[in-house]
Symmetry: C2
Subunit: 409 residues, 2 copies
């Protein structure tokens, strides 16, 4: 599954018969401009979905869809078409031939074209199912799967301080596209939306311009918009026994179709950066519980020094989120910084699009967030406006398989 | 002006005294993750502002500010502070010492921190003045500069089809930050906004995730969200005599303080991509006037083949924008693709943030856009929601100079 781009998106142009000169001229200039470390691809098929423990790519496009059909067969057919397109796009190919069906120029193209000539850029496409897919707002079981609703997909409780926008929350399906080139991530989401016309409708969508977590020990810890290193204590792909304990749904957890999957919590957190920027360095460090420069826990000297929660300020974020205060719970975080323009009040609309994968949110995200919502001194500078919870099934196998085939097929 | 990052943002941490281990630990991991071709810096000072003919960087953060002081001295002081911070940041340094004024942790930091350890990433910071800086909405000359208002900064006419949002249009000042790393661009805008607290207020702001123009013959032509190569016929930095004719304000143009500057038109254009994606390849190519795969003008074979406007469809974009139909007018375009989430109607809110620099918009942007607004078949798929016009003064010289010093000092 690891085609290099020059036998993929470039070849696609040739095959579509757009012109013999096409392949050559697209090839020449584009290599020079775009070839880089992003010239790599991530395998699409596997036991687990890619895009969870995959070393966090630099850019994100996330979308939540409402399913607008009531026809189970159409839903299955869409998931099958999406999987086929995802396998192509993650390998650096187009979603379908640019030259349109059978090369007929009178038909719309099967790929929108904006990623032509771009490398795979480590694109991953990760799909999840919301609670409303199983039982809609009226309690209706549209697709005959309500009996398969995982208890871990329970509605999340209200957290004090949250001011959620319902139009930016929830969704029947979600797709996370991560890539090192944002145009590649946007292209993936846009083509899945195009393929889904008439079956799904975009509910909300979020771009993230920079990762705020590392999911591998080989990655440096990035910084969030508070200016601090974020996710130092994150679960990492190398920690396979911790991943079994905290990330992947195990056979004994049930339902069976979720074995090898994980639950994703999304939370769009607006940061009141103008107020933060007026607070002193000492106060910022006391609120976070780490030094701003090095990322070391307060009182320690290096980023990866173990924090001693008891020695940190009581309301500090690192202390409150520490596993020792949350029954040992840990998360695999995969958040991104965002700026969505301005807020009409003279301020940037900026913050963190938090994403965390886990084995059971009832035992992980919920207790941690309850603790933070009550005591975190950082709350003064935060406003959560969107919340989502999705069951991400295990990986797709190679041949004609699709996400949730064990649930739906 | 070309410090490498490891004697800049890294050194800043050491100087601020955050901890002796800081410099070493920030250094190690970050180099591995981020060092790349973006490890370069662009000179800040010069005859012209950087960020106009500078080879278009991959990412954009653009902001328009309202000036909320009536005090000319405070405005001048802000521009001077901004120039000092811009000189530091474009060299890959912090906006001011992270350890706060004189290393006092009880003061807010002079840099917000999220770019610590990141390379200069070819950051450029380009500043422009809106018409309302000279004469506000009530016709008031707040800063005693109304007599210096350039005639070329005339209010733009209304173009048929535009549905402009006043809150997303205009502005007293604009700042364009371009960089190859979006976190570096966001950091620059955010710190200028922080420095400007009490003097300016964010009016609107726009992120662009991918460039849609090349401004150098060394760059490959990128694609817009219609999937087509965009800006093939753009003015390029190598074409120095064309730049003199079409881009840089000349001494005979007046006013004197604008000599060596240029006028910037910004236009946020929502693309109705869902409708576009349902149109046939043949129709798309006929509307654009180019082949989708190669970017060649219709009927020709290679991207840079000269189009014959008379041979192109009458309502095609390339024909209507061709200099031969617009009195020879040309533009230096510097647009970016954007996705701003979704529109609440089941669609992505996506499009092009158009930016074009020029010597005189009355002779360039206005006639070209009039022609396009009337006849362009692409209009069916476009909706302009924001418009801006800014006078970007010449470059800043090294020592304590600032943008528009010849106008304001």
């Amino acid at each position: 599954m690891s085609f290099s781009w020059n036998v993929s998106r470039r070849r696609a142009i040739g095959l579509a018969g757009i012109g013999v000169v096409g392949a050559a001229s697209v090839g020449a200039g584009v290599v020079q401009a775009f070839a880089s470390e992003t010239d790599n691809s991530v395998a699409f098929a596997g036991e687990h979905q890619a895009g969870i423990v995959t070393p966090a790519q630099d850019r994100l496009h996330f979308v939540a869809f409402d399913v607008i059909t009531k026809d189970r067969a159409r839903l299955i057919s869409l998931l099958r078409d999406w999987a086929a397109a995802a396998a192509r796009m993650t390998a650096g190919r187009d979603a379908g031939e640019i030259g349109a069906v059978n090369g007929v120029p009178e038909a719309p193209p099967d790929d929108t074209g904006e990623a032509l000539g771009l490398p795979p850029a480590n694109l991953t496409i990760t799909v999840g199912f919301g609670r409303t897919l199983f039982r809609d707002a009226d309690g209706k079981d549209r697709f005959g799967i309500a009996a398969q609703l995982p208890p871990a997909l329970d509605e999340l409780p209200h957290f004090p301080g949250d001011v959620l926008d319902a139009a930016l929350s929830g969704g029947d399906l979600c797709v996370q596209a991560c890539a090192d080139d944002p145009q590649v991530a946007v292209h993936a989401i846009r083509n899945l939306a195009r393929i889904g016309m008439g079956v799904v409708s975009v509910r909300w969508s979020q771009l993230g311009f920079g990762r705020t977590s590392s999911t591998s020990t080989a990655q440096a810890t990035p910084r969030n918009l508070f200016g601090f290193k974020d996710g130092t204590a994150n679960l990492k792909l190398e920690e396979t026994s911790l991943l079994k304990e905290h990330l992947w749904v195990q056979p004994q957890d049930g339902p069976a179709w979720m074995t090898g999957g994980a639950y994703l919590v999304t939370r769009k957190i607006r940061m009141i950066i103008e107020t933060w920027d007026r607070s002193s360095l000492a106060e910022q460090e006391s609120i976070v519980g780490r030094h701003k420069g090095t990322g070391a826990p307060l009182g320690r000297t290096a980023e990866f020094d173990e924090p001693d929660p008891a020695a940190l300020p009581e309301g500090s974020h690192v202390r409150l989120a520490h596993p020792s205060l949350n029954g040992g719970a840990r998360l695999l975080r995969r958040g991104y910084n965002f700026v969505d323009g301005s807020d009409g009040l003279g301020r940037l609309d900026a913050g963190l699009f938090f994403m965390a994968y886990q084995r059971d949110p009832r035992k992980q995200f919920v207790p941690i967030q309850r603790n933070l919502a009550r005591h975190d001194e950082m709350n003064e500078y935060l406003k959560a406006v969107s919340l989502g919870l999705f069951a991400c099934p295990p990986g797709v196998s190679d041949a004609g398989d699709f996400w949730g085939s064990a649930l739906l097929a």
